[in-house]
């Protein structure tokens, strides 16, 4: 990851330090992992301590939780939601289904590894990870943001063709999300 070396400006250090304290996650219950989230949010584990709270629409969310297997139909909706999210966005893949197909490794309709289609920030192993694992991974994510390395969202713009090719192959044809990724890339001047 060659970004690690570039020097972050003072303002970026401060903004990373402050914005790491407030992460809003988009509650996208695709698979069986969603049931793990209520305990993490409520009294016993209380992830709100770290400033993480659930948000309903992609416009307001920073973290996209993919909790479990993704059939091709749901993957299309996930890509659309990912593109609707606002820029510094992080994808957290729950469980082994997002890593390498998990239990549905030989099914004809579920996608096997998530980062073919959208850039993933952190994976949480386990089928399904317990709240402790989720909070640990969130803390890793917070530390990563603090160090300024959580820039997976730039990959989407950088090698968009790779992702686009995979998506088109899996969906048998392009999907219309009304987002001009190339123009956005130019806006963020990512080459």
């Amino acid at each position: 990851m060659e970004e690690k070396l570039t020097q972050r400006s003072v303002w970026e250090k401060i903004s990373n330090k402050l914005s790491k304290r407030s992460l809003w996650m988009l509650h996208y219950c695709t698979g069986c992992g969603a049931i793990e989230l209520p305990p993490t949010m409520t009294a016993r584990f209380d992830m709100e301590r770290f400033g993480i709270s659930p948000m309903v629409t992609p416009r307001q969310a920073d973290i996209l939780l993919i909790t479990g297997y993704l059939s091709v139909k749901t993957l299309k909706r996930v890509v659309l939601t990912y593109e609707q999210m606002q820029a510094p966005k992080y994808v957290v893949g729950f469980g082994s289904c997002t890593i390498n197909g998990g239990m549905y490794w030989n099914s004809y309709s579920t996608m096997k590894c998530l980062d073919q289609y959208i850039p993933v920030e952190t994976y949480i192993a386990g089928c399904m990870p317990r709240p402790e694992a989720i909070i640990a991974s969130f803390n890793d994510l917070i530390a990563k943001i603090d160090r300024g390395e959580a820039n997976s969202w730039k990959d989407y713009y950088k090698n968009y063709d790779f992702y686009k090719a995979n998506q088109d192959r899996t969906f048998e044809g392009p999907i219309e999300t009304y987002n001009d990724i190339k123009a956005d890339a130019a806006m963020f001047n990512i080459k």
Binding site: L18, R49, G51, Q60, Q86, A87, M187
Partner: protein
């Protein structure tokens, strides 16, 4: 000279108080749910993160102007509210003006959300306006009662009259019916839980805020912080005898806010027509009887 200073620093002070109060509210609700709850300055972090977002989706020029109207309207209201130590503008506009200026942010948000062409937003706005019809009538009636009692519509004079009477001069004590009715209406005005149907997350994806992201949501949160303080100050000035020094003012703010929060924390959410029916069945008759007491 100090008025210029006041003009510059008043919004900042009120913004800070408001944000701390919102942080306090999230901590308070967490502690009721036996959770540890986020740090007090959590809302500052949220606002900072939102303002720092890279993409800010906007659906048209009206969407941007509406956000400006939203914050501008609330700042306008701020200057007309007599705050301890600064009531320079209070003489140029009285309570009627304040009640109407409160509607500008609502209209601004409504137009902006309408522009985002998202039915969730439109449903949220129509519910917010119906709630407005619900709580505004009793609140205005209580204000009319107080204004008729003291034969003045300017808020600054109302404070002086209440201050003269000491503790027993408070609006809440002199005519409790109006005070309680206004309290219930205030609950609706702030959008606290029993009357929170316009931002119901699960049904209509946080209603008006569906398409608001990045700095738009940031500005909305700043506005919400200021608006909370403004509305509470209106109630304090009308019924809790206003405040002469800042310490008493902040104490009253937090105490009143805790009362409202405790109601908010334990209540479910009314449906819109039930909420309006509730508002017209309980606080409105109370206010009418209160006014009748004043007349005869």
């Amino acid at each position: 000279m100090n008025t210029v200073l006041w003009i510059i620093f008043l919004p900042i002070i009120i913004f800070i108080i408001g944000t701390f109060m919102l942080g306090y509210s999230r901590k308070f609700i967490a502690r009721i749910e036996r959770r540890y709850g986020p740090p007090i300055q959590q809302v500052f972090y949220d606002i900072f993160k939102l303002m720092n977002k890279k993409t800010n989706i906007s659906h048209g020029w009206m969407h941007d102007i509406a956000i400006l109207m939203l914050l501008g309207g609330t700042l306008l209201t701020l200057y007309f509210i007599p705050v301890p130590g600064f009531h320079f503008f209070a003489q140029y506009g009285d309570m009627l003006v304040i009640m109407y200026i409160l509607l500008i942010p609502a209209l601004g948000m409504a137009l902006g959300v309408g522009e985002t062409a998202n039915p969730n937003g439109s449903i949220g706005i129509s519910r917010a306006l119906m709630m407005l019809a619900g709580y505004d009538i009793p609140f205005f009636l209580t204000f009319i009662g107080m204004a008729m009692l003291n034969q003045t519509t300017s808020m600054y004079e109302l404070i002086n009259i209440q201050q003269a009477g000491g503790f027993f001069g408070w609006g809440l004590i002199t005519n409790p019916l109006l005070g309680v009715a206004a309290l219930i209406a205030l609950q609706g005005m702030l959008g606290e839980k029993p009357f929170e149907v316009m931002v119901a997350p699960h049904e209509i994806a946080t209603g008006p805020m569906t398409e608001m992201g990045g700095k738009y949501l940031g500005i909305m949160m700043i506005q919400h912080a200021i608006a909370v303080v403004v509305e509470l100050t209106i109630y304090i000035n009308l019924f809790l005898g206003g405040a002469l020094n800042w310490f008493e003012y902040i104490i009253k703010l937090f105490v009143l806010f805790t009362v409202l929060l405790s109601v908010n924390a334990v209540f479910g959410r009314f449906r819109t027509d039930d909420a309006v029916r509730f508002m017209w069945k309980i606080p409105l008759p109370m206010a009418v009887i209160g006014v009748l007491f004043i007349i005869f």
